[in-house]
Symmetry: C2
């Protein structure tokens, strides 16, 4: 099945949209087993849209269009579709009546431009919009199914998931399983999965890497037994499924175990605490965090030994361990995580390059510290350190993390 | 001048790319006065790329292509360009020699696939890659300038800014000025600028809103005097230009004034400290931060009065002010910022809905607290609160922020 996505809007071409409909649609369609074979963005120009609709309907089985369905003069997608697919119009006054009701509920007059929304390509189905005003439209052009959706992301997503996906024949049969993995390079993920999947299934695998972990998209239609055996190959690096985030998994594990957490951050400067707090309900497990950015602050707030800073420097396993231990002592938490390192671009000294990071974990009376040289810019180094620190705690709670000191 | 962008890569069509080359290129080209009139994403398929290159070169003056220039079998853009534009090949062995040197420096053997990078479309210019291996290529196809760039974002950006932009005739003449604005709605920005710009210039304005501030793209070619008068209309909401971030401006102002800063966060949970620490050199001004998430922690760490929490609740101006004052007292910093609020989805109580946030500022012996109902989900509420808190400090340092308590 050949599918494509067309996005309409001058703001898209200027790179102004913060939320990207195309990326979201592409991910949804890919995980349903129908990755698009083309994405096109066009201006609010009737002729360009009409020509592209004709070309797309001729070469593809499914075309999903977003944007240009609203009431203002630059919303020309509906008219372009009328022109592209035969020129005939249905007038559906119930569309306008529904919008008028919405405005009445808000005690506002309906702007006149909405009256035009009643004019739709002849034979098109109306796809109700539960979130906003302009409905979507579904029509057949030869053998091609064309879906016109609003450009407002929340409206587009609602209509697509509720009314478009179920119409796409392949549906759930091809839905792809997604694994979330931390602490392995992409190549290592491949090496660990290859013995279980063989060449053909490996060819259908996609691996997306980011500083907050790897997503492994399994081939569509893989059988449960094979998937389970392959999962075993990833060991404790496999931390979740779908859109699970490392911080969610860690907060969940802490809550399950009735453990409280504190953080002591230098390098990451609050990012680690902020990731934990981003999880709803984190307050049940997270007590407090310290951002001890200066040496003086490490000594005064966390009780780090001044001599240790003088002897080993603030970026050292010794100081990192004392930070975690200090956080346990001061907060009374069961567990504490700590970070120190050189985020750059400045701050490197001989033997301590930019990217050198220490992560500490104090838990059950034992302190563990780990050194890593992180790649990337200041933001990446900080994010990788915060994520690796969370993963250290996750694996320690699983009982599989190594202890080093 | 008609320009377009073509992105090549199966991973783009699956929505897998985290960094989006198309958005970045569109923004850069728009701010240079040459917004693209079309964006297309294509699979790693020789035929699709060749056909689209031909069509694009026929309809546009400038075509920028990213992706598919590497050494692996799915990198087919170079061959597609050879096929599309006459079929003739130049062999440039110096390209391979340069890559071989890079590998030698890393003490690694060069994979054989790189040898093919010597084959380029006849007559093309080589655009040196200072960041990675595969160079970009520039060629003329009839009246159209075609640029082939690597898909790795850092490599693409480097080559585009250094070697492509200067070749685009319009260049600096059309470069658009960008203002950074905080604390106004989009409509308020329009209302404030309209009296200075008039209808025609207002039509050329674009405004991009995000939780970390608004970017106002002025019309290309606006004269300096008009721009300066319009800037006055934005008052102290105008905090910077180009890509300036609020946290950079605030850290810069603190450093200029020789002031030290501490933070006391509940709601934002370290995000405010992390934004400040994201600025290189923040250590010169930022002393320490406290993430006091539990009531007990607010009392013990910051000395917040237990009675105030009982009487007004942790989400109150009283407690927020005491948090900022406590952070000044404990850290010895000149200035402290504090946050408390209800990020949701849970935690709302009668009279205190999700999104209710307090921001505090203790500075020069005076404490100022501000209440706001923030829109959005948990992440947005936290980000808006952290940003608004920074802006409060910025305006106070300017001497224009209002004092409330």
């Amino acid at each position: 099945m050949r599918t494509e996505i067309i996005t309409v809007g001058d703001e898209v071409l200027r790179g102004e949209t913060v939320e990207n409909n195309t990326v979201w649609l592409s991910r949804s369609m890919t995980s349903e087993g129908i990755p698009p074979s083309r994405q096109t963005a066009l201006p609010d120009d009737m002729g360009s849209i009409r020509d592209e609709l004709c070309a797309a309907a001729a070469r593809s089985d499914v075309v999903v269009v977003t944007g240009g369905l609203g009431p203002t003069v630059d919303d020309v997608t509906r008219q372009a579709a009328i022109d592209a697919f035969g020129g005939k119009v249905d007038v559906r006054e119930e569309i306008v009546a529904g919008i008028e009701r919405r405005f009445k509920e808000l005690d506002l007059p309906m702007p006149g431009g909405y009256r035009d929304l009643a004019r739709i390509p002849a034979g098109a189905d109306v796809l109700a919009n539960n979130v906003g005003a302009a409905p979507g439209l579904a029509l057949k052009a030869g053998g091609c199914a064309v879906f016109l959706l609003p450009g407002v992301p929340a409206e587009m997503k609602d209509i697509f998931e509720r009314l478009v996906l179920p119409r796409l024949a392949s549906g759930a049969r091809y839905r792809r399983k997604v694994w979330r993995v931390y602490g392995l390079m992409e190549t290592a993920v491949e090496e660990r999965l290859a013995p279980f999947l063989g060449n053909e299934l490996m060819g259908g695998l996609s691996i997306i890497s980011s500083p907050s972990g790897i997503s492994v998209y399994l081939p569509a239609g893989i059988d449960e037994g094979t998937a389970a055996r392959a999962a075993g190959g990833l060991g404790d690096h496999l931390f979740g499924e779908g859109r699970d985030r490392l911080e969610e998994v860690v907060v969940g594990m802490l809550r399950d175990r009735g453990l409280t957490l504190a953080t002591a951050e230098s390098l990451t400067g609050g990012m680690l605490a902020s990731m934990i707090v981003s999880v709803p309900g984190a307050s049940e497990t997270f007590l407090e965090g310290y951002v001890t950015y200066s040496d003086e602050s490490k000594i005064r707030v966390l009780g780090v030994d001044e001599g240790a800073i003088e002897a080993s420097g603030a970026v050292s396993g010794e100081v990192c361990g004392q930070m975690a231990e200090g956080a346990v002592r001061v907060s009374g938490a069961d567990v504490a995580l700590s970070t120190t390192g050189i985020a750059g671009p400045g701050g490197a000294v001989p033997g301590k390059p930019v990217g050198l990071c220490w992560m500490g974990l104090a838990y059950e009376g034992a302190t563990e510290c780990r050194e890593r040289k992180m790649a990337g810019d200041r933001g990446m180094i900080r994010l990788r350190t915060a994520s690796t620190c969370l993963d250290m705690l996750r694996r320690r709670m699983l009982g599989t993390g190594r202890r080093e000191s």
